[in-house]
Structure formats: structure tokens, C-alpha cells
Amino acid sequence: MFNVDRIREDFPILKEKVNGKPLVYLDSAATSQRPIQVIEAVSDFYLKRNANVARGLHKLGEEATRRYEEVRFKLKDFVNARSEKEIIFTKNTTEAINTVMYGWGMKNIKEGDKIVTTIMEHHSNFVPWQQLARIKKAKLELIDVDDEGKLKESELDKIKGAKLVAVSAVSNVLGTRNDVKKICRIATDAGALSLVDGAQSVPSQKTDVRDIGCDFFALSGHKMLAPFGTGALYAREEVLDKMDPMLYGSEMIRKVTIEESTWNDLPHRFEAGTPIVAETIGLGAAIDYLKKLGMDDIRKHKEEITAYALKRLGETKGVKIIGPKKASERGSLVGFELENVHPHDVAAILDDSGIAIRSGHHCAMPLHDRLKIPASSRASFHVYTKKEEIDALVAGLEKVKMVFG
């Protein structure tokens, strides 16, 4: 059974006070908190097992390499990739997407080619394609959203004739869960490659890259209970094998002479330099933690919390919810506006009560322009979020309204 009180025991930070009040952390879409199991996996490595990987022949070095590579297998299973060769460790989703932009895009996108993405993308899945299009004189076309913040079916036609389609699984502002399986199928049928930004979906639902049918899938560790600096790019082996490395240096080479270099096997060809070893081992612990709770049960819990937040915020006078009405069509976040109060002020006054939410443009300026709002507020949830925290948010918003009379 999914026991939130029991889960909260694993997250020491949730006992902290902020401004003298118990912390109500509703900003997990920005970064999640970490359970003690993850923190201990990192400190255990530094305390007892620290050595560099993939070089020294000593015991510690071998052991560090083994533990580090073990995480690759864990992640491969977690996202259901065919092979561990398809998992490239990166420092976050942004770096994963840039690995594709430089390694595949710079090589394959030519003048006049079409790249398709959506208006709801986070800058990390927008700016790389905008810049690639600019550099290569290619076209960038955007799939628009309807009034409920869902991608317009009628605009999926834009995929025809594209070389690449890049789409997020869950929008970090609207909360919309996109039918990425369908979009990737349309892309494949049109002869385009597909990239899915899974930063907001991976922590909240089961990920199956083979079922989705994407060529690339990017994710961040720090939103899925793992340490900062961890993340990954999944890429189909056939595609990956023809890509150029983005970074050159150690680890990624096979042989170097004064005149030339040859590249290492997959996946190491794409991981130049000393990697983020301890934190990646922490990522392994986070995957273990999520698997133990069960992704289906996590999804169920988060959907329940999201539904409750939609209900309570929906009943709050002056609150306008952004995005789909149904929790089943959302990731675990709710963006909103409070009438006549700037989101920055909403967040500042909530902070008085120890409530942490995000306010601003959430790294999605084109979407905010499209919605014709300069900024928005966002409450987001995780395995440790309880309904009482949504109640605290609603009470906090009443306080904001009082201050702004």
C-alpha cells in the first residue's frame, strides 16, 4: 500500500522549518527532494569506495566502475531500452537534448529541412532546435495548443516532411500529458526521427521507450529523487552509432596518435571526461526507490493529489487554472493565475507560510507569450506530497488575497 506518511519519513528535509513554519514543498517539478537512501548511497561512495572509473586496475577503481556501470543497466531496465549501449549519461535533460542537437542535428539537418516542435516546450527542448534551424537555415515549425492547453490534432500534419520531431511528454507549465506514442508513430511514418523530453514524465509514470517508439528520450535525475548533475539520453543504437560526439577528450576515445583519434564503443563514445560517479550511483539508488514504490502506484498517488489540487484550486475564488481540466490528462503539477496579483507576489507571500511554489515563466517564454500572460504560478507534487499540503496552499492563497485586499 502507498503510505505517504511512511514515505515522508525517508525525506529528512520535509521535517525542516521555513520562516518558522513547517515546510510545504510544492516545487517538485523544479527539483524533487531526495530520500535518505539516495543521500546515503552518495556519501557511502565518498566515504568508503571513492575512485575514478574506467581506468585504474586497483580494487577500488574496479569496484567504482562496476557500481557506476550497474546504474546504466538499472536505467536501461527502468526505461525499457533494448541495450545498455543505448543509455548515455548526461548531467541533465538539457545536455541530453544538446547531445542530439550537436551529434545528430549538425550532421543531418541541411538547408531547407524541417524541424517540428511544440509551443509548450521548455527552453531546453526549444532553444537547441531554434538555434540549429538558424545555423543550418532550416525551418522550425511549432504545433500549437488549444484553449485547454492540449496539442491541436489538426496541427500534427506539420510533421509531414519533417526530419525531426521534438516533443515533451509532459508540459512543465500546462501539465499536459502528450500522446507521445502517437506523435512518434506519425513521425516514424513520415520518415522523421523523434525526440521525447521526459523531464516531467519520468518521475510520475512508467517509461517505456520501446512502446513510445521514439528515437531519442531525454531525462533528468534531479526530478526523480536522484542527485543534481545526473541525467541521461536514450537513443536507438542504430541512430546513436552514426552520431558524432559532442565532447572530445578522455574516455570517449579508443586510440589517439599525434595525427588522429578513433572513438570508443557505445555508449562511452558520448561520455567524454571523468563522469559524475557518486551522484550517478545515487541515481541508481533513486531508481531502486521508485521501483520499490512501483511506478503504477506512484502515478495513481500523483493523479489523486493532482485531482485534489484541481478541485480545491478550482473552488478558490480568483484562481484561474492553466491547462487540462482532468487529472488523468496531466502530469503532477497545476499551473495557475491569481486574479490581480503578480505570481512573484503570490510566491513571496506563500513563502511566509513555509509554502514553496514556483512563479515566473518556468523557462517557457514562448508558451507564456502564446497564452498572453507574462508569468504564472505552479504547484507541483511528488511521492511525498499529501492532501493537507494542498489545503495549506489554498489557505495561503486566501492570505495573499487578503494582503492585496
Partner: protein, 126 residues
């Protein structure tokens, strides 16, 4: 922080009913300042005649602090010379808005956004 100290009645009042809000089509000086962290945007407009500011306005969107600061700053600019404007400091703005933001560095940026726009408009950098 206790936001009660920040959200004084006059700040809220200036947010709801800003002073000098609007644009000046034939402004002698104007510039936009943008805070990429929160998306606040202030545009400042000045008309100068006989060496002195005759009209100052602001447009854009932002939080209560940046909006109140823009109201108070434009109000204080009237009748000043360009040299006097160039000499304006962060402390001057803090004195104008009369709230203590020393514990809220992110909000200091909100308060200073209109000053950034002014300095850009008159070609002085701080």
C-alpha cells in the same frame, strides 16, 4: 522574511493604481529593462525640456515591488536634470520605496528594475 513588512498598504495601492502609468509616443528618452529570472519588464519614457524632466512614464508588467518602484521613481524624476538622474543610486531607490529588502536579494532586483531602465534610457550604466 515576513512579507507583511514588504507589502505595505501604499505598495499595494501603487500596484493597483500606479502613478505615471502609460507610454509617451514622442519620448526624448526611453528604454526597456527585463528581469529574465521572473519575466518582469519595465519600459521607461522621459520628456525633457529646458534641461529638465517634464514628463516621466512607465509601462510593462511586473510584481508589486517593481511596479511601486516604477511609480515612485518616475514621480521623483520630474523637474530633475539629466545629470541629477545619472547620479541616482540604488540607495536612492531604496529610500523612495521605504521598505527593507536587505533580507530579500531577489526582491531587490525587482525594486531596481525601473532604475536599470532609466540608466539604459539616458545612456548611463550602473
Amino acid at each position: 522574511m515576513d512579507s507583511q513588512d514588504i507589502y505595505q498598504e501604499y505598495i499595494i495601492e501603487l500596484y493597483k493604481n500606479p502613478l505615471n502609468f502609460g507610454t509617451i509616443a514622442d519620448a526624448d528618452y526611453s528604454a526597456e529593462a527585463f528581469n529574465p529570472t521572473c519575466g518582469d519588464r519595465i519600459v521607461l519614457y522621459l520628456k525633457v525640456s529646458g534641461g529638465k524632466v517634464t514628463e516621466a512614464r512607465h509601462s510593462g508588467e511586473g510584481c508589486a515591488i517593481s511596479q511601486a518602484s516604477a511609480s515612485l521613481l518616475t514621480e521623483s524624476m520630474k523637474g530633475k536634470t539629466l545629470e541629477e538622474l545619472k547620479a541616482l543610486t540604488k540607495d536612492d531607490v531604496m529610500r523612495l520605496i521605504r521598505i527593507d529588502l536587505s533580507k530579500n536579494p531577489t526582491r531587490i532586483r525587482c525594486a531596481l528594475l525601473p532604475l536599470d531602465a532609466l540608466m539604459k534610457a539616458i545612456g548611463a550604466s550602473k
